[in-house]
């Protein structure tokens, strides 16, 4: 099976399971009045400070969960969220987003960007000062090469595995008034164009398949950003980036940033030891409590551009029946599952999650309808209707002599997933579905099980890398293949023509109100088709050194690396 993974989606998915920690309630979870609601959670919590007030120098140690070997983000092996965090400090990008998801051109590279009325033409005015670390200017040709390769049009054996959303909608790229103006002609309007070029590479590395596949392997040979690569230490699993003195933008406040790889369980401990300055806590109750033992710790809390859910693999026999999927949905208590994870980090244990819209966006609403709350009786009716009947005295439903047994795959060492699996196991047993928990090595979890469809149920997170709802098309639309059936990043392996049509409508929609309306319609359709069971919106909880400014829980906003610094 070919696995299509664009940077935007697969990367985050992979990061998710790994970033999620254990969960649990806390002693303070009981006081209902004190618990904030989802609406009270800020859009971002970054300790914003003026650059002038920050001291010059210092090092930030940022704990990450993966050591990257392939720094070509668009290569299949480079599709990790951590990679974006590292690369954006040393590589160009076209736009930054604020915490409401509004894009602004990132001036060191793009001075201005605009789209015409019907969305068919996008123009970037590039910053003529911008140049690669090898002295070459960054021109329209670099943008054109990236479009040609990522759209799948460049011939060659590229390890990116298919055409990427957005890039494939660009029909032609041409030079504008001079080499510092790029004109993109879209075959179909793509409303989410500012999300493209989240990492831009030099054209040599896009045009030649060998350079694409190996140029950025264990190395970042060419950079252009506020930082340059200091050291990639494979033994210590650390990447250090240092201030680039040739940088034409605002100089970085920090001398260097070290991305140090740690096991998720170990992060809180090293944070308390002051070996690191920042790490993502998520909803791991032990890490959350432990991190607060450090006297100069700040817990940053904001919404996060993702949600945790139970994936239901419709490619498996029993689950191909939408009634059985709905029965699973009704068989589990989303409230219990959300509470199990969120109580321990003093977060509203609200299972309201929208697959396409986040709680800080105005159109956020619960579309679960009749499928959101636990209803074992209804689940039993659906299963009876689907032919899975509970024989007298039996504990597991059968159909034609076969037992209704679902395999719940969990990665080893990740308590959250195991907790969810155990609760699901118990709750589904009550409606006559037997759940077997299969714990697999965490390194194989995505590659061998989830992407290949070797699971019935599993839980992880979907994270958006841009604020746009439309990027989730590849998670819920499809099938994508021409001829053979290819579900790509649609891990539920099911969809409907209606959902696909709505996505087409969505990405072409320019009226924001109507855009969100369509997004909600899609979410409703996804509940109807039982594509995954959302558990809760992911928490944006970070533990950071309290002196660290312009960094923390970023929500939907981009991290501006040159502005990160320490207060006096």
């Amino acid at each position: 099976m070919r696995i299509r993974r664009s940077a935007a989606l697969a990367a985050p998915v992979l990061a998710l399971a790994l970033l999620a920690g254990a969960c649990g309630g806390g002693e303070d979870g009981g006081d209902e009045e004190d618990v904030p609601t989802l609406a009270d959670i800020a859009s971002s919590d970054m300790n914003p400070q003026e650059r002038d007030t920050l001291q010059d120098g210092g090092t930030m140690n940022w704990a990450v969960s993966d050591f990257i070997s392939q720094y070509m983000l668009h290569h299949t092996d480079g599709n990790l969220a951590v990679n974006v965090d590292i690369l954006q400090s040393v590589m160009p990008r076209a736009h930054n987003f604020d915490d409401e998801g509004i894009p602004v051109p990132y001036e060191p590279f793009v001075l201005e960007s605009s789209v015409n009325e019907d969305g068919s033409e996008v123009v970037f005015t590039l910053n003529p000062e911008a140049e690669w670390s090898d002295g070459e200017p960054i021109t329209w040709e670099d943008y054109a090469a990236q479009v040609e390769t990522l759209s799948g049009r460049t011939e060659g054996d590229f390890g990116h595995g298919g055409s990427a959303a957005g890039y494939r909608d660009i029909e032609e790229v041409e030079q504008g008034a001079d080499e510092y103006e790029v004109v993109f002609h879209f075959s179909t309007p793509y409303g989410e164009w500012p999300g493209l070029f989240d990492v831009l590479y030099p054209k040599e590395y896009m045009e030649d398949p060998d350079e694409f596949n190996e140029g950025y392997l264990e190395d970042i040979p060419v950079t252009a950003g506020p930082f340059e690569v200091g050291e990639i230490d494979k033994t210590a699993q650390r990447v250090t980036v240092t201030r680039d003195d040739d940088w034409w933008g605002e100089p970085a406040k920090l001398d260097s940033i070290t991305f140090a790889t740690y096991e998720i369980d170990a992060m809180a401990g090293v944070f308390v030891n002051k070996e690191i300055d920042a790490f993502y806590v998520g909803y791991d109750a032990p890490s959350y409590e432990r991190a607060q033992e450090r006297e100069d710790a700040r817990i940053a809390r904001a919404i996060d551009n993702g949600y945790r859910y139970v994936e239901v693999n419709a490619d498996r026999d029993a689950l191909s029946d939408v009634d059985v999927r709905h029965a699973v949905m009704l068989g589990i208590s989303r409230e219990s599952l959300a509470a199990a994870s969120l109580e321990g980090v003093e977060w509203p244990s609200d299972p309201t999650a929208n697959r396409l819209i986040r709680s800080n966006q105005p159109a956020f609403q619960d579309n679960s309808g009749e499928w959101g709350a636990r209803d074992p009786e209804r689940a039993a009716e659906l299963l009876d209707g689907a032919g899975w009947v509970l024989e007298e005295g039996a504990e597991v439903r059968t159909k034609d002599g076969e037992e209704l047994v679902l395999e719940y795959v969990t990665p080893s060492g990740l308590q959250t997933t195991l907790n969810e699996a155990e609760i699901t196991q118990q709750q589904l047993a009550e409606v006559g579905i037997k759940v077997e928990i299969n714990t697999v090595p965490s390194n194989d979890f995505f590659n061998e099980y989830i992407y290949r469809g070797n699971f019935d149920l599993s839980s992880f997170v979907q994270v958006g890398s841009t604020p746009y709802a439309g990027e989730s098309y590849e998670n819920y639309g499809g099938p994508f293949g021409d001829g053979e059936e290819d579900w790509g990043n649609n891990l539920a392996r099911t969809s409907t023509p209606e959902i696909n049509d709505k996505y087409d409508e969505l990405i072409q929609e320019t009226d924001p109100e109507r855009y969100y309306e369509i997004a909600n319609e899609i979410d409703t359709l996804l509940w109807e088709n039982a594509q995954g069971i959302p558990l809760f919106q992911r928490t944006g909880i970070w533990a950071v050194n309290e002196r660290l400014a312009n960094f923390g829980a970023e929500g939907m906003s981009s991290v501006v690396y040159e502005n990160i610094g320490y207060t006096g």
Binding site: A22, G25, A285, P286, E289, A340, E343, G344
Partner: protein, 308 residues
């Protein structure tokens, strides 16, 4: 188990007046038992073990919570009147799951120890009695099993046996625990087979297999009993560590290992999830070891404590 030939006749107890015809000869075992019970540590060990067994089997009956029950209103709460030992991450009552886990660990420990020792006795006795080819083959297998890293093998085999339940897990644990005892048994068999009663049996035409089971193995019973007892604690530790890494007992079953695995990562912040199961493991292993060492000393003529 049949009585051994080494009976110690006691003159003083024979032919008592007015007594029945029953002649009381203190068997070797009553001597051993007496010696053993005179040691305080054995008494302590036995008492603690009995207490643990009682707790594991009777304790759950006292709990207001069921084993498969979850309290969705209290996740990871400290001990309270409602949940005597607190709750875990998924709202299970720690009191009941810790005791049920203890049950599972005790059963697995005992079973593995008995099976291990039985296998060791048979393999060692056959190798030592027949020597030659039988010995070569059996010792080759033993040596092979000795050099294999058992933990790794169990981890690799685990996916294949996952669905077969914990009995298969017990067999696998036992499969990697018998080798050293088998070598000891082999050595003892080589010397035992030169004894007169073995010769006698042989000349009377008793089959070799019968001789091994009737005469050789029973004569090593002291060694085997000590070995089995000590194996109990190592089996419990092996089970616990495999379950700790997720290769052992599977949900919804629990053992002390799975509970410790859950508790260890939050031991600092939520100590009640760690302290009780770990404490029970330590007490259990110590109790078994006290008994095992007491037995060894009681059966070992060289031991000081026996003469004391």
């Amino acid at each position: 188990m049949s009585m051994s030939a080494e009976r110690v006749a006691s003159e003083t107890e024979t032919g008592q007046e007015g007594g029945t015809d029953e002649t009381r000869i203190p068997g070797r075992w009553s001597v051993v038992l007496g010696t053993m019970l005179r040691q305080r540590r054995v008494l302590v060990g036995l008492a603690v073990l009995l207490l643990l067994v009682a707790a594991a089997w009777i304790g759950p009956l006292l709990s207001p919570w069921g084993f498969e029950e979850r309290d969705y209103a209290s996740f990871l709460r400290p001990p309270s009147p409602e949940h005597w030992l607190g709750t875990d991450n998924t709202g299970r009552d720690l009191y009941i799951i810790t005791l049920v886990g203890l049950q599972k660990s005790i059963i697995i420990g005992l079973l593995v120890a008995v099976i291990t020792t039985a296998v060791a006795a048979v393999v060692g006795a056959f190798a030592g009695y027949f020597l030659n080819l039988t010995d070569k083959v059996l010792m080759w297998v033993t040596d092979l099993a000795l050099v294999l890293p058992s933990f790794l093998i169990l981890a690799i085999l685990f996916p294949a046996i996952r669905d077969s339940g914990w009995i298969v897990f017990v067999l696998l644990l036992a499969a990697f625990g018998w080798m050293i005892t088998a070598k000891m048994v082999r050595g003892m068999t080589i010397s035992l087979k030169e004894r007169e009663y073995v010769y006698a049996a042989r000349y009377m035409g008793v089959s070799p297999v019968r001789i091994i089971f009737r005469h050789i193995i029973p004569n090593m019973s002291s060694l085997l009993i000590v070995d089995a007892t000590i194996n109990v604690s190592s089996a419990i530790i092996a089970e616990t560590s495999l379950s700790y890494f997720g290769f052992g007992v599977q949900a919804p079953d629990v053992s002390l290992g799975t509970l410790i695995a859950l508790g260890s990562r939050q031991a600092v912040t939520h100590p009640w999830t760690f302290v009780f199961c770990t404490g029970l493991l330590i007490v259990l292993v110590m109790a078994v070891n006290l008994i095992g060492e007491g037995l060894r000393d009681a059966l070992d003529p060289q031991s000081k404590s026996r003469r004391a």
